[in-house]
Symmetry: C2
Subunit: 238 residues, 2 copies
DNA sequence: CTATCGGAATTTGCTTGCAAATTACAGTTG
DNA sequence: CAACTGTAATTTGCAAGCAAATTCCGATAG
């Protein structure tokens, strides 16, 4: 009886167990991408990241594969990995899917959210409006995302939550660009007011409808981007 | 001028280039899982698959990571990989997401599908009804899926198409179980009739509504499954 | 006969190393 | 001066090998 911790059976799977090199690599690289340190189109060299993270190449390679399946990285055989570069069409497509899933999440959240969760959304909403009034863009967007994450969590559908998380990560590197074009915060705030109202009233259909067309900082601003670029064309083979 | 193919620039990225060991491993293992040869819960041993596929362990490991991010495999650190096992809740959650995305796909397809594509759906539908009348279950389900795939393709949203493909792959191993409980084909066929009608009429809203609640062989039958099991419980530490 | 303990065998995680392919660069030529 | 060719350097893909952790299995005690 040296170190019998529990009389019956120890729930082995409870703790996520300490991080493996591979997991550390995935998380580190994902962060670098989502935070924008590794911008879209950036080449990911195995050796370079291996040195930088102090992890040998093999787990780095495995991390690339995982991130590729997540949609954050593109791997071309024999030519290495690069941060996925989305053109405006892909961004638009992705936002469309996100909006659709957000709507589903809202509809489900209207049914399943606890009172506490509703109030948490309300609190986040208040703070978001404050940030808006103070012009604190960064905080505004963080709270905006926090609200959407909370709604996803309240949907009680982990699969849905997971999908949303993955898709949002994919567009995250572009959010910052979009932030600069900030006009229609008003509309977004108004949408959020309605959302909160609908959530409190447990009106799933209404939440669905609003979220479906919410596109807070999304599609609306893509056209702006479309104008702003025009120069940064992709290689067009003529 | 030995082999100058084009006078300007050769489109380097056109061909997918020949398959690497890693890619072969991913495809082979995915097939084994989706086809049901490696059933849910089945342990995936690196050495065993390495021997079986004639590929060394490294690319196999990379394949595991990729499939894990796709949602087909679960990896527990230091304990190996196994084919993902979905309980009924997860299945239900996944079908909910699929239905939502199918609805979006239908709505978009109503707008973007070419006349040819509409007729292709019509043709698939006819053959599906035939298979139904002849009681050819396997063919019926194949055509059913083909219809949904065609609608996804006609949505002209590759991101959406990709998501649907991934999610459908995840539930694929369970479809066969579900096939055995075949009662409400009628309802499914009726839905499909309406879908085709709506698609021809370019009625996106109607297509959306039908697909949203289509759940052809899906949720409806889950309860059946729930009864049928009760014995095949997971290890419950109790 | 059941349950617990200890050691051997298997299995995973990671490092290292090598061959092949790609990329970069420099010299040469038109 | 620009474009092309050939070679060198980098980089990826894969395989083998070693250490650590886990699992398996038999032995022992209750």
């Amino acid at each position: 009886m040296k170190q019998a911790p529990s009389p019956t059976i120890q729930p082995v799977d409870s703790q996520p167990s300490r991080t493996s090199m591979q997991q550390r690599a995935v998380d580190a690289i994902r962060d670098l991408i989502v935070q924008g340190e590794l911008p879209p189109g950036c080449r990911l060299q195995e050796q370079a990241l291996s040195d930088y993270l102090g992890i040998s190449r093999t787990p780095i390679r495995e991390a690339f594969r995982a991130l590729a399946a997540e949609g954050l990285v593109v791997i071309k055989p024999r030519r290495g990995a690069m941060v996925r570069e989305m053109d405006l069409d892909e961004l638009s497509d992705t936002f469309q899917v996100i909006a659709s899933l957000d709507a589903l999440a809202g509809e489900l959240a209207a049914v399943h959210a606890t009172g506490l969760e509703v109030e948490r959304v309300a609190s986040l909403h208040e703070r978001m409006v404050e940030s808006y009034q103070q012009g604190d863009m960064l905080e505004y967007f963080k709270l905006n995302q926090a609200i959407h994450r909370q709604i996803a969590a309240s949907s009680r559908n982990p699969v849905l939550e997971r999908q949303l998380q993955a898709l949002n990560a994919q567009v995250q590197p572009y959010r910052f660009d979009i932030n600069n074009v900030s006009e229609n915060w008003r509309r977004s705030i108004a949408d959020h007011e309605i959302m909160l109202e609908a959530l409190r009233a447990r009106d799933g259909a209404r939440l669905h409808a609003v979220l479906r067309n919410h596109l807070p900082d999304k599609l609306f601003l893509l056209n702006k981007l479309r104008e702003l670029r025009t120069s940064g064309r992709r290689r067009r083979i003529a």
